[in-house]
């Protein structure tokens, strides 16, 4: 009977420990997006992990979401994504292809910040497209 109780306690402790670890993992990933678009089909390079939380604390939404007031952002699927307008190939309405839109939004901005002598993010290919 004593043994049974011991096992029971151990199991409970195990579940609690696991849940703590689990929740910490959840916390670490909060606001971090895997930038993956179906528009590209098979991605050629490792997909980019984008820390949305980090960026929303240091800049206004409109810096990236240039259409924020017109289309709103991706409000629970009600708004639009980058790929709603920006397609793989350019057309006469949207002159910026999706790949360039992504690269300009990240690398372009980072490069500007470096030019201005400010703290900035990565600009070298593999520093965003990290192999896991």
């Amino acid at each position: 009977m004593k043994q049974l109780r011991l096992i029971f306690i151990l199991v409970i402790a195990g579940i609690m420990a696991a849940s703590i670890v689990w929740s910490q993992e959840e916390k670490a990933l909060e606001g971090v997006m895997d930038l993956k678009s179906r528009e590209f089909g098979q991605h050629q390079r490792p997909q980019v992990r984008f820390d949305h939380y980090l960026h929303e604390t240091i800049m206004r939404c409109r810096v990236c979401h240039h259409d924020f007031y017109v289309f709103s952002n991706r409000n629970e699927g009600k708004g639009s994504k980058c790929a709603t307008c920006h397609k793989r190939k350019i057309n006469k309405d949207i002159p910026v292809p999706l790949l360039t839109a992504f690269h300009n939004r990240c690398k372009g901005c980072h490069e500007n910040y470096i030019k201005w002598g400010r703290t900035s993010g990565p600009v070298m290919c593999g520093t965003c497209h990290k192999k896991t």
Binding site: Q44, R45, M124, C125, G126, T127, K130
Partner: protein, 225 residues
């Protein structure tokens, strides 16, 4: 560091590369002496051009000439090396993405797996070209340190590029080394034997004109040399 090697240093390398090659072409053409060569370059132009184009075209295809056919193994390796060397950097996806972003131009980009295979092919064939210089006495005797250096300079961007693409540890180091080694290559092209990038066409053209005008091309046209 990345800003420096992709900014001012890249421009410097491209300028030296471009103007150096233009200078090499000008010096080569000006160095031709029709009296010394006994070839009337500027008189029988049509025969000359025909012969020049013929010679360049036959030499540019594998097994197109007797010399290529006499050394089939060497020919295959040379062509694999040169095709990889020229095709890979121009049609690489990442290079084209940068071109598109900087200047708004881009070429067709090959799949990354193909680029990988071509890169390995360049490296492996370079190893064989290096071994050939050691193994064959007739080549060893005319090989000096500059020949080995030139081969090393031209494969270095491929080795470092391969390591950077596969993100071996120290990615940023490899990428910067990749860019630097490519710039070293660009600068070295006008000053070393790598200038055969353009001088191949000029010397082949010259010899082709020689054959087209003098040795056979105009035989029986009442010309005596």
């Amino acid at each position: 560091m990345y800003q420096f090697v992709t900014g001012p240093l890249a421009w410097l390398a491209f300028i030296i590369f471009f103007f150096g090659l233009v200078l090499r072409i000008v010096l080569y053409v000006r160095g031709l002496d029709w009296k010394l060569d006994r070839v009337t370059y500027s008189v029988n132009v049509s025969y000359g051009i025909k012969g020049a184009i013929r010679s360049i075209i036959f030499w540019i295809f594998p097994f197109g000439t007797r010399s290529w056919r006499n050394n089939p193994g060497f020919t295959v390796i040379v062509f694999i090396f040169h095709i990889g060397l020229l095709i890979t950097p121009v049609f690489l996806l990442a290079h084209n993405v940068i071109l598109e972003e900087k200047w708004g131009i881009s070429f067709w980009a090959m799949p990354e797996a193909v680029a990988d295979i071509l890169t390995i092919a360049v490296i492996v064939s370079a190893v064989f070209l290096g071994l050939r210089r050691i193994a064959l006495p007739e080549v060893r005797i005319i090989t000096d340190i500059r020949d080995r250096l030139v081969l090393a300079i031209s494969v270095a961007p491929f080795i470092t590029g391969f390591l950077a693409y596969h993100q071996f540890s120290g990615y940023e180091f490899w990428l910067i080394l990749h860019i630097l080694s490519a710039e070293v290559m660009l600068v070295a092209i006008p000053f070393t034997k790598l200038s055969h990038m353009v001088l191949f066409f000029l010397s082949r053209g010259q010899l082709g004109m020689d054959y087209g005008i003098k040795r056979g091309g105009m035989k029986g046209y009442n010309l005596s040399w």
